[in-house]
């Protein structure tokens, strides 16, 4: 009894992927066996089979946002489609809400999709022949909800995404951002616990994309959905994701928080991704802070020596919580040598961020060859020429 209860407890509304494989082409089972033995994607491709997803395992806790990050062709969209059964895995299991989705009949799977899992698409996938309201209510229509009830819940969902008053418009009358809000409303209207978002903001321009990310974060505070979000944009991944999986050539190469990936990239591939990330917005004070003790003994510009937590708090140019992005620390730090104070909920000092550390974390991760190469290229005549051009300008 207890055992089975515990098992169930483990499953409930938690999404688990266990050793998922997806192979396209001939003899997929044999391909899976070879992959398990360590064959790589290129070997299989020469036989005409494509391994889209290789051995993907992860767990998404209820209410968490799990981001799958990777370039096109890395298998992330295939992985997503196995989570709601749009694609059947070649091997492995998907467990959600106490059910093994891979063991369900097509009819049962459809029932799960219509009530428990919804999806938001890259190009919105709104039905052009339905009004905004009918689009938002589509999932409910599939569930067989009555028309007035459908209308009410679809209107609610539209209000939630900020589209009140647009119910009778048509998709082609809306901007891209608004269309995707309809897509989001359609996904939210069914009250599904799990939201699959397939590069949902990639087709939007940067400002709108940011708005949508903000809105999603805002909604998530109250809705607490379990979200699997696919993106190729690491900035987006780091803003939204509680956990991030980086995929490459069908495999998950790193699984961790934004800071894990930024501070300790698993390999050069992941590291090269992080180059373009705005670290100052991703890294938090808590992640880079040093122990409070390290500040003791420091002397400030004003000649004051810091000896205890009280001194540090008094001298600090700014006092922040651990989850504050470091972007906000630069301007205060520029005025004084005193370290930034990091405190917990009760106002106790938990650590400090000295200016030197702030500068160090903004640079490349250690061991990356790229900066060295760039330095070398500066000495070439062309670069000198550029420099002169710049100087003249």
């Amino acid at each position: 009894m207890i055992v089975s209860f515990q098992r169930r407890e483990v499953y409930v509304s938690r999404l688990q992927s266990e050793h998922l494989y997806k192979v396209f082409g001939r003899r997929p089972d044999e391909a899976v066996r070879r992959l398990e033995e360590g064959a790589d994607r290129a070997e299989l491709r020469s036989d005409g089979t494509t391994a889209a997803v290789i051995d993907a395992s992860f767990t998404v806790e209820p209410g968490q946002t799990f981001v799958v990050m990777g370039l096109s062709g890395s298998g992330k969209s295939t992985l997503l489609r196995m989570l709601n059964g749009l694609l059947a895995p070649t091997a492995g299991r998907v467990l959600f809400d106490g059910q093994d989705l891979t063991a369900l009949s097509p009819r049962e799977l459809r029932a799960v999709r219509s009530t428990k899992i919804s999806m938001v698409f890259q190009h919105f996938a709104l039905f052009p022949h339905r009004s905004v309201l009918d689009n938002a209510g589509y999932g409910l229509e599939v569930q067989g909800v009555s028309a007035p009830e459908r209308r009410r819940r679809a209107t609610e969902a539209l209000e939630l995404v900020g589209l009140a008053g647009w119910e009778d418009s048509w998709p082609d009358e809306l901007s891209g951002g608004m269309q995707q809000r309809v897509g989001l409303a359609r996904a939210l209207a069914t009250d599904a616990d799990l939201l699959l978002m397939d590069e949902s903001f990639s087709a939007l321009d940067p400002l709108i994309r940011r708005d949508m990310q903000d809105q999603l974060l805002e909604l998530q505070k109250t809705l607490k959905k379990t979200i699997v979000f696919i993106t190729h944009d690491l900035n987006e991944a780091m803003r939204l994701g509680d956990q991030i999986a980086v995929m490459r050539d069908g495999r998950i190469v790193q699984l961790g928080t934004a800071e894990d990936i930024l501070v300790t990239p698993a390999d050069d591939y992941v590291a090269s991704f992080t180059q373009d990330v705005d670290r100052s917005r991703v890294l938090t004070a808590g992640a880079i802070m040093a122990d409070a003790d390290s500040a003791y003994g420091m002397v400030t510009d004003s000649g004051r020596k810091l000896t205890c937590a009280k001194d540090v708090l008094a001298a600090a140019p700014i006092t922040v919580m651990a989850d504050a992005p470091i972007v906000g620390l630069f301007t205060p730090c520029s005025a004084t040598d005193a370290p930034v104070a990091v405190v917990d909920d009760s106002g106790e000092l938990t650590g400090v961020v000295p200016r030197s550390r702030l500068l160090a974390v903004l640079g490349e991760p250690m061991g990356s060859p790229e900066p060295a190469a760039k330095t070398a290229s500066l000495s070439t005549p062309d670069a000198d020429l550029d420099a002169r051009e710049v100087a003249r300008a």
């Binding site: 709601n84 749009l86 459809r110 029932a111 799960v112 999709r113 219509s114 009530t115 899992i117 919804s118 999806m119 698409f121 890259q122 190009h123 996938a125 039905f127 052009p128 022949h129 339905r130 589509y138 999932g139 599939v142 569930q143 048509w170 082609d172 359609r186 069914t190 699959l196």
Partner: protein, 598 residues
Amino acid sequence: MPRLPLGDVVDRGVDWLQFHLSWLFDAISSFVTGMYDGIDAALSAPEPLLFAGVLAVLAWWLRGLLAGVLAFAGFALVDSIELWDEAMSTLSLVLVATVVTLAIAVPLGIWASRSKTVSAIIRPVLDFMQTMPAMVYLIPGIIFFGVGVVPGIIATIVFALPPGVRMTELGIRQVDKELVEAAEAFGTTPKDTLIRVQLPLALPTIMAGVNQVIMLGLSMVVIAGMVGGGGLGGAVYRAIGNVDIGLGFEAGVSIVILAMYLDRITGELGRQVSPLGRRAIARAKEAAGGPSLWNYRPQPVVALVGVVILALVAGGMGVFGGAGKADEERAGGIGKGREVTIGYIPWDEGIASTFLWKEVLERRGFAVETQQLEAGALYTGLAGGQIDFQTDAWLPITHATYWKKYASELEDLGPWYGPTSLELSVPSYVKGVDSLDDLKGQSARFEGRVIGIEPSAGMMGLLKDKVLKEYGLTGEYKVIDGSTPGMLAELKRAYQKKEPVLTTLWSPHWAYSTYDLKKLKDPKNAWGKGDGVHTVARKGFSADQPEIAQWLKDFRLTEKQLTDLEAEIQQAGKGEEQDAVRTWLSENPQVEKAMAPQ
């Protein structure tokens, strides 16, 4: 390379099908006929102009005032050139063919869009159906379904099916994959995905397919006319046969009017029925700005009420005006209303004798139906028993091939006119050429050409293999294969420009009364003895209708009588054949007495 007996296999296959599946063909035939008769009755019941009004209101509603006015003008023109009934039967034929085609094509297209295997199998079959010349399967069509509208409709269906299937498949495959995936992601069943997403979005393409189906159907009506489909196609076929350019143009224009009307209406309907199309219209309206008389459209309800009122009025008028004419003289007499079907090839002597018999038999109380057919179709129809008799069999030479094929299914009731003759002819202004002997060394005048007719015709074989050889003309003259209408058109052209022309011709033929021509003498008797114009009936006819069979056996006309009658019919014009026969009979009462003594 060994000769593969492909043709024999097909031959045997057709026989086998006819023998084993006749119940199926009969069922299809009666279904299609019933549908056609119903629609035709409904369409031709109202007064023409009122029905034209109904069609015009429909056009007004869908496309605006100008379209309505033009539609009315077009249909009024059809009525005024006395082709209304033909136009309505053509319209019925096209509608039936379209409905049946769509009932097959859309499901097939859906199936093909969901299965690559089905698509791969269907594609070559569709290619086959679309490119196989229609005449090739029309004759088997007659064997299966009998002459009349059915093989015409079947041929139209076969021809129009491919675009219907292809456009449906294309339309569904073109639907954005992400939309289909979205439907699936929300748990939609495959059936609902089809109904809620794929079909509505594919509808504009499918409607374009419907439009294609109708247009192809209309382009097939002429061919349907050759196998007894009647309507405008029959009129065109007949006009071609008689080189009646005027009638050909009138019938052709009527087809064009029908085609344009149907094209514009179905095109617009396609936009109206699909939600996407309605969105596009709404946006266009916003862009166009304020209302005006030209873009005012009656609301659907108003238009519907208008159409219903017009239709009721039109229907009411039809009840008083249209029907009831035909039944007067049928009641009594020896025939007791028994039905007789006469088939004819639209050749002058065929038309003359057929309508002569129609009139005489109707006076004797028979219910006579006439059906205009192409020669091959006529014999097939006789052999199949759908036609009772025909009066224009040229035996034993010209129609030898047909006779050989169907002799066991036919009864020869003997000749009523003869002998006929085959000959080469030149206009009388061509001096110095009076006999086949004179042709030697004259090839330059005729550009070395003998204008021939259908290469399948008996006399063409005779000419090439025997006549030219005996007079030593092989090599000097080249026989141009063509068609009878083509030959007659060439004769007409050359005659008007007074150019020398050498044509294959036969007597009796109206060309001899229209143009001043010389039959070239045949001193070596290479053409052989002439044909007689026989009456040929289906097997068992003389047992079923002994009186008529006896009358037909005794039937004779002299050259003078036949030419007079043909001239009378020619003068009266198309559609008035029976009136011309009545006039002629009142002047020649002894003929009727000789034909059918009471």
